[in-house]
């Protein structure tokens, strides 16, 4: 591991690993101990999950705005948009249907 590029890469994986461990340990610990009320715990789980996905993209998949090819970033952003429309739309329709059926 003497090669400078390798040392830099090693640091990237280790930073990513430590951050991912923290971002997993906090929500698991909250569910184990019930330290916060359920609504707050759900919020922390959600925030930790989003942060951890970003950590994985940055430190494990090495996505960044300088060396990653533009097409890959575009595909990623387009996928995020698709997910927002498809998942958000599904929830919208199903919850709307749910509340109307209850009436």
């Amino acid at each position: 591991m003497e090669h400078p590029e390798t040392r830099h890469g090693l640091r990237s994986y280790l930073i990513g690993f430590v951050l991912a461990v923290i971002l997993s340990a906090v929500p698991f610990w909250l569910v184990y101990t019930h330290a916060l009320p359920p609504q707050r715990t759900l919020l922390v789980i959600g925030i930790a999950a989003v942060l951890q996905v970003l950590v994985h993209l940055r430190f494990f998949l090495h996505i960044n705005f300088t060396t990653t090819p533009r097409e890959n970033i575009l595909a990623l952003v387009f996928t995020a948009l698709l997910l927002f429309i498809m998942v958000g739309g599904s929830f919208w329709i199903m919850f709307d249907l749910h509340s109307r059926m209850m009436l």
Binding site: A20, G46, A48, L76
Partner: protein, 199 residues
């Protein structure tokens, strides 16, 4: 190696590698759409237990925590294998791939044990809409990990037989994208299925 020192042939190979990495990235984005819709289906089906067991009665937090650790460590060990590919260290690549394989196998073992335990107590995918969605989502991820394990064995054999040639290194790069992607999908699974289910 700088571009100026590359022969015509090597430059062509590097270009092919870039194109294939993009193609594989597009496949992964499609896979992300599949997972996202399975997540949405699952979230909508959570109340649909049809009088059967709920997640709180079925899920085990310890099991999910161990699976999380196994997959996260395996993601890092695959990263170490990728670094050794760059360093041209064939033996170390094989060692890290073997460790990654063992961690992934332990993950699949825990998941299969969880599934068979649930089916044995009558909480299989046919019990309720909730359980159908659960088995589809988590099972799809498990099948992906199993495919990744087969892929590790195949590429491990190629590293052993052919060495770290440019095509083999290029394939290892794509397997790495796949393996790290599966860990991201797992973050979604424990954050949407297990933790809220046991809250």
């Amino acid at each position: 190696m700088s571009v100026a020192h590359m022969s015509e042939h090597e430059r062509e190979e590097a270009e092919t590698h870039e194109q294939r990495a993009l193609g594989f990235w597009l496949y992964l984005m499609g896979d992300a759409v599949i997972f996202a819709l399975l997540f949405a289906t699952y979230a909508i089906m959570i109340p649909g237990t049809a009088g059967g067991p709920t997640g709180k009665q079925l899920f085990e937090l310890d099991n999910a925590a161990i699976e999380t650790v196994l997959l996260l460590v395996s993601s890092m060990t695959f990263g170490f294998a990728s670094l050794q590919v760059k360093a041209g260290n064939r033996g170390a690549v094989l060692a890290w791939l073997a460790i990654t394989f063992l961690l992934g196998t332990a993950f699949v073992f825990l998941e299969v044990r969880e599934f068979s335990g649930m089916i044995a107590q009558g909480a299989g995918p046919d019990r309720s809409g909730f359980l159908s969605a659960f088995f589809t989502l988590v099972g799809t991820h498990g099948v992906h990990v199993t495919m990744g394990l087969i892929w590790i064995v195949i590429l491990g054999a190629q590293v052993a037989l052919k060495g770290l040639t440019m095509p083999v290194a290029s394939r290892l790069h794509r397997l790495g994208l796949f393996w790290h992607f599966l860990d991201i999908a797992w973050v979604g699974i424990f954050s949407i299925v297990y933790l809220p289910g046991l809250l």
